[in-house]
Amino acid sequence: MKRIKALIIKETHHILRDPTSLLIVFLMPILMIIIYGYCINFDLNNVNAGIIDLSNGENSKKLIKKFMNNRYFTIEDLKEKHSDPLKEGEKLLRSGYLKEIIIIPADFSKKIEKGRKTEVGIILDGSDSNVANLIYQYNELILLDFQDDFQNLNNFLKIKTKVLFNPDVKSSFFFIPGLIAVLLLMITTLLTSLTISREKESGSIELIFISPLKSFEIILGKTIPYIFVSLIVEVLILLFGKILFNIPFRGNMMVLFVFSILYIITGLSLGILISTIASTQEMAMFATLLTTLLPSIMLSGFIFPLDSLHPILKGFSYIVPATHFLKIIRGVVVKGAEIKHFMFEGIILTIFPVVLITISNIKFSKIRERSK
């Protein structure tokens, strides 16, 4: 214990000696939560859609009105502005200004009056498949709604939809807790990923090697001081997230706090493992980015729902720490879930650091052996 303490003191000196870095570490998450919190969201709004109404009848006008009343679409009448609306529309679609062109055929209104089958032509920009899918869904809904007006389907079937936990369907409830999880992992991993590789680069690792410290003592001594730094970072992130984005904390803060300590330690141990393997700081940094950025964004449920992932990737998502913490933080913050809902996640987040530290210990001992 005494030896670990000495190492902790040394490492703390190291942290405090470089105030610029420390300042970056504290300022970075605040800036990140502010910038990304405001800038990243998935809401679909202001879809510019061009309309070419060849029918010009009462019914087609009703349909156009339906599109106009939808809050997602901004409708532009192409026929009014251009002599060759289709060609001009294609050009605007190509430039990305328009996302779709809706063409109502000439016999539309008449056919509807007579109750005959008719169709609506739509040219959709598919480049962003996600957005295209959403727009397609909205088109379908509007068309169904239009038919509804003629046949009063609601008289036949009653569907009551109630959205729980987030009645206004605000995406910030989804993104901000997710962002907190992703940022915490990235920052904690980053913190420790440089510690051992830095000593390797400057050669001072030899001094540690020949000391009487056992390998696991070195590993622990390198990790523990950063727990405090990370805790400060975490409190800062949570605080700014709550103040700026009005996220309700429906659950118990203590529950979140306990799990976040596990999560922080997971991040720090991942960093230590990277640091033991990497021989230079830039390599450690690069590895950190590869292991935290893309997996935490794409495979954790941060943006893309986990249930929609391919089964292989879904299996893979279990070894991404952010997956589990995301579930916890979203549950506690938005749904007010309790500790009993997260037994599985809690166990996994305990296993992570143990496994990571053990592997780093083995790796570190090997390197030490080799240098003798």
Binding site: I24, Y38, V120, M298
Partner: protein
């Protein structure tokens, strides 16, 4: 020709870190392949629970339809009422759909059940898609019923999808991820390169040599640029050959834009490296800038969603222009007349950053 020796020295220094090189070339490719192959950004398989209290014929038929769509994954069907709110809190299902017998006389005639949907609103995107889709399924079902009763009215939605007809997300993400790689690789190498000499105290050796400061600067930049270009060509080939993503536009313009971008990001990295006093500072700062560049580039989320008073962050972000240009060329096959403005902005940013970076380096060396 003196630069040549410096370039050679830089290459030796980079190649000495063998693991780094492997990581630089192999890891990103593996990531593109894994992500590109299996990541679908489409919403599918939303886990739901069904409580069928109605047990009527129609309810079974509608449930069958729900089971057959890829959008929903029916985890559990029960015939007794359960505490739905607790089910949602547990988080294993995203929605609970309850079918009740309706006592409304108007509807009783046709024996349609009353349907109640309880949604977990945490993931706002998924829940609004699911709700809309469910409405669609049930209404369509009734429409076909009505059609049978000879009260036809149907409007067909004939949609033609341009640029990415199969709606494959890899076509959209793949080319963008190549740009991301270029950013990561060049920014890291650049931001470490000058500060490394400072930390090892070899900077003075370079300074007292006969090399002018411009020569040192170019000698530092050139090897990284070469590695960046190789890395990117590698990435583009993987995207084109492995995923068979067609390149519809002009490959040459794509390369020119990428090189302009590369210079901008490189000199930005060198600027960080000149200002920082330890490698740790340089790496922290480049890490932070990199993530900001990436997240605000439109790669993952559309830039149109960024509030207008923060749009300037997109405007000063070189990566956002490159990603836009890459997508225009790859997916839409657009000619330069569609994105010459983006190319001009990118070049302007590049010139600005390069001059600041060189001036700063000159000031640093003259001290």
């Amino acid at each position: 020709m003196r630069i040549f020796y410096l370039v050679k020295k830089e290459f030796i220094e980079i190649f000495r870190q063998k693991e780094l090189l492997t990581l630089l070339f192999i890891a990103p490719i593996i990531q593109i392949i894994i992500l590109g192959y299996i990541v679908k950004t489409d919403v599918e398989n939303i886990p739901i629970e069904i409580i069928n209290l109605s047990k009527s014929k129609t309810s079974y038929r509608i449930i069958n339809r729900i089971k057959n769509t890829p959008l929903f994954n029916v985890k559990h069907i029960s015939y007794k009422n359960r505490d739905s709110i607790n089910t949602l809190k547990e988080g294993n299902v995203k929605a609970v759909i309850t079918f009740r017998d309706s006592f409304d006389k108007n509807r009783a005639m046709l024996k349609y059940p009353e349907i109640q949907i309880l949604m977990d609103g945490t993931d706002s995107n998924t829940s609004s898609i699911a709700a809309g889709y469910f409405n669609g399924i049930s209404k369509k079902y009734i429409l076909t019923d009505i059609e049978k009763m000879d009260k036809k009215l149907s409007i067909k939605n004939k949609t033609l999808i341009r640029f990415n007809p199969a709606l494959k997300s890899i076509n959209y993400m793949g080319p963008g991820i190549v740009a991301l790689l270029l950013t990561i690789v060049s920014l890291f190498l650049a931001s470490a390169s000058i500060v490394r000499e400072k930390e090892q105290q070899t900077m003075d050796t370079l300074l007292i040599s006969r090399l002018t400061s411009i020569e040192i600067y170019i000698g530092k930049a050139l090897p990284i640029a070469i590695i960046g270009i190789i890395n990117m060509s590698f990435g583009i080939s993987v995207v084109m050959i492995w995923f068979k993503i067609p390149i519809r536009g002009n490959l040459f313009i794509l390369l020119i834009s990428a090189i302009i971008f590369l210079y901008a990001i490189l000199s930005y990295g060198l600027l960080i490296s000149t200002i920082a006093s330890t490698k740790q500072q340089a790496l922290f700062f480049s890490w932070f800038s990199m993530i900001t560049f990436i997240l605000l580039s439109g790669l993952f989320t559309p830039t149109e969603n960024i509030p207008s008073n923060l749009q300037f962050l997109v405007k000063i972000n070189p990566l956002s222009y490159l990603i836009k240009i890459i997508r225009e060329i790859f997916l839409k096959g657009n000619g330069i007349e569609y994105f010459y403005k983006d190319l001009l902005c990118l070049s302007f940013i590049a010139i600005l950053v390069i001059s600041i970076s060189i001036l700063n380096f000159k000031r640093f060396t003259s001290k």
